[in-house]
């Protein structure tokens, strides 16, 4: 490899690091993402310079096709469909690493007829495994989120022992592959087990837990890129792969912590079944309803409003209506803010993206820690499609499955209006006692309609 190409790879590694570093401020984030894209461009150019020219036509054809598909989906997808999109792309990334590893394996065993070095064989096996699991796992996650297959956990007896048995078989086959590198049967066994394990580990997990799974699989795709780096002895793959690996793990941790569940608990699956039965025997709550007219009148008499958005706002696409409400309130000098819970919605930062889409300035979105003290001095809290993230049971009721999860203290405000379709439960499947509080009024119906006062 010539020194110029090496330096180009070094520069693109630095650009990836800087790009991620600049994501730590909203102001610099966009430029950071562009730097990171520039890094990718440099890495691709350097690689193109390095390879022989014979196959340029095929290469360009592949790139054009890939870029066209990528651009099309990236521009078409709705903001509410982000989790699905990341899942799909992530699956593609995993399959790419998987294919590169296999391509390299067949080249080495069939043409060069060299005995492959230990490190390389191991890296190939790791890359096939992680890449395969990432691929099928992400596709299942995508199908669940997209509603193509049922979002409810698919469990069967002996599931975990079966997974364990498959994993042990994989290890055995891997060991034999290290010894006899050229046996095609062994490599097919490795491929099949990886793909099957990806499916089996994701199907028992409920659709609502998919964001955690996707974030974890994102981390895996980074690790697969790392393993490919070890196969090809290429530093930029290792640097970029490690950064992605770390990113996925941290996001996963953040989500689990904010949901007050352990990663193991999420991965073992079947969440939501025990809870729904527990919810039934709770005392039925009597609520006070409020109509659209009365709500509009209430707004005339307040001076400060905090909006708590939740998953329901995302589904109903109510963010634009809320923007209009905000503009009207600001015309009347009503103080108007948003309280953003770290796991409101179904993806970390979900609400921020949707509200940004509706053209709401990001300095109006206040994070949980900063705004929790302000609720007691607030005249009116409007909860739009949020449920779990304002459930006081997380503070008061040690029996509740969400006990200990940090929540927004919306119940402390003078008046609370909850706008949602029905008395339906949220993600965690628990009753929300807030709805029965004396200062709480229910505004039932699709959240996007009634607010058009």
């Amino acid at each position: 490899m010539s020194i110029a190409i090496q330096i180009a790879y070094l520069i693109s590694s630095i650009l990836f690091v800087l790009g991620i570093k600049m994501l730590n401020k909203t102001k610099s984030a966009r430029q950071g993402n562009r730097l990171s894209a520039l890094g990718m461009f440099i890495a691709i150019l350097a690689t193109l310079v390095q390879i022989q020219v014979i196959s340029f036509v095929e290469i360009f054809a592949c790139i054009v096709v890939g870029a066209a598909i990528g651009l099309y989906y990236a521009n078409k997808v709705e903001m509410t469909k982000m989790p699905e999109m990341v899942a799909l792309f992530n699956g593609f990334g995993g399959l790419a690493s998987f294919s590169v590893a296999l391509s390299d394996y067949f080249l080495r065993t069939n043409v060069n007829l060299e005995s492959i070095e230990l490190v390389t064989v191991i890296s190939i096996i790791v890359s096939v495994f992680i890449g395969g699991v990432t691929f099928t796992g992400s596709i299942i996650a995508f199908l669940k989120l997209n509603g193509n297959i049922s979002g409810s956990p698919i469990t069967f007896k002996g599931q975990h022992p079966l997974n364990l048995a498959l994993f042990l078989s994989f290890l055995t086959a891997a060991t034999f592959t290290v010894i006899d590198q050229t046996d095609p049967v062994l490599i097919i066994v490795l491929i099949v087990i990886s793909l099957v394990l990806g499916v089996l580990t994701v199907i028992p997990i409920g659709g609502a837990d998919m964001p955690v799974v996707i974030s974890l699989l994102n981390s895996y795709s980074g690790m697969a890129a790392c393993a490919t780096g070890f196969i090809l002895n290429n530093n930029v793959l290792i640097v970029a792969g490690s950064l992605v690996g770390a990113s996925g793990i941290i996001l996963t941790q953040i989500m689990c912590k904010a949901m007050n569940r352990s990663l193991v608990n999420v991965l073992l699956g079947g969440f939501g079944q025990t809870v729904s039965s527990a919810g039934e025997d709770g005392p039925s709550i009597t609520v006070k309803e409020i109509g659209v007219e009365e709500t509009a009148m209430l707004f005339d008499s307040v001076s400060s409003v905090i909006v708590v958005p939740g998953y329901g706002m995302a589904v109903a696409q109510a963010q634009h209506v809320i923007r209009e409400l905000m503009e009207q309130c600001e015309k009347r000098n009503i103080d108007f803010k948003f309280a953003i819970h770290p796991v409101a919605g179904r993806m970390p930062g979900h609400m921020n993206v949707l509200l940004a889409e509706a053209n709401i300035s990001y300095d109006k979105l206040i994070e949980m820690e900063s705004i929790n003290d302000e609720f007691p001095n607030t005249d009116l809290v409007l909860i739009v499609g949020a449920n779990d993230v304002v459930n006081p049971a997380a503070r008061n009721n040690p029996q509740s499955p969400i006990y200990g999860m940090p929540i927004l203290n919306a119940d402390k405000a003078r008046t609370v209006i909850v706008s949602k379709r029905s008395m339906g439960k949220g993600y965690a499947g628990v009753e929300n006692e807030l709805f029965g509080y004396p200062n709480c009024l229910m505004l039932l119906g699709m959240p996007n309609k009634p607010l058009q006062k």
Binding site: T26, R30, V236
Partner: protein, 95 residues
């Protein structure tokens, strides 16, 4: 690969992982969705491997086809990932 070369790759792995943890722990929750899709785009770096694999065309048919599949998929991942992240970040505005 000599053991020295391997060790050095491990140094890079370890340092980059530590660095990744420190950098990402500082990203505010507001930006977690773009972070997820942006880092997903970075994982498309495997496109470098795909290009090298395509180059093996003509030697082994299987390797060639696998390389081409990998190239298409990795390009989708890279181009789509960066574009959608940019689209999202463009919306974050302060007035």
């Amino acid at each position: 690969m000599s053991s020295e070369a391997l060790i050095i790759l491990i140094y890079i792995l370890v340092l980059a992982s530590f660095l990744g943890f420190e950098l990402i722990a500082k990203v505010p929750p507001t930006l977690h969705t773009p972070l997820m899709s942006g880092s997903n785009a970075i994982s498309g770096i495997t496109i470098v491997g795909a290009l090298l694999a395509c180059n093996e065309m003509g030697y082994v048919t299987l390797s060639k086809w696998l390389g081409m599949i990998a190239l298409v998929l990795a390009t989708i991942n890279v181009v789509g990932g960066y574009t959608v992240t940019d689209r999202m970040l463009k919306m974050f505005k302060k007035k």
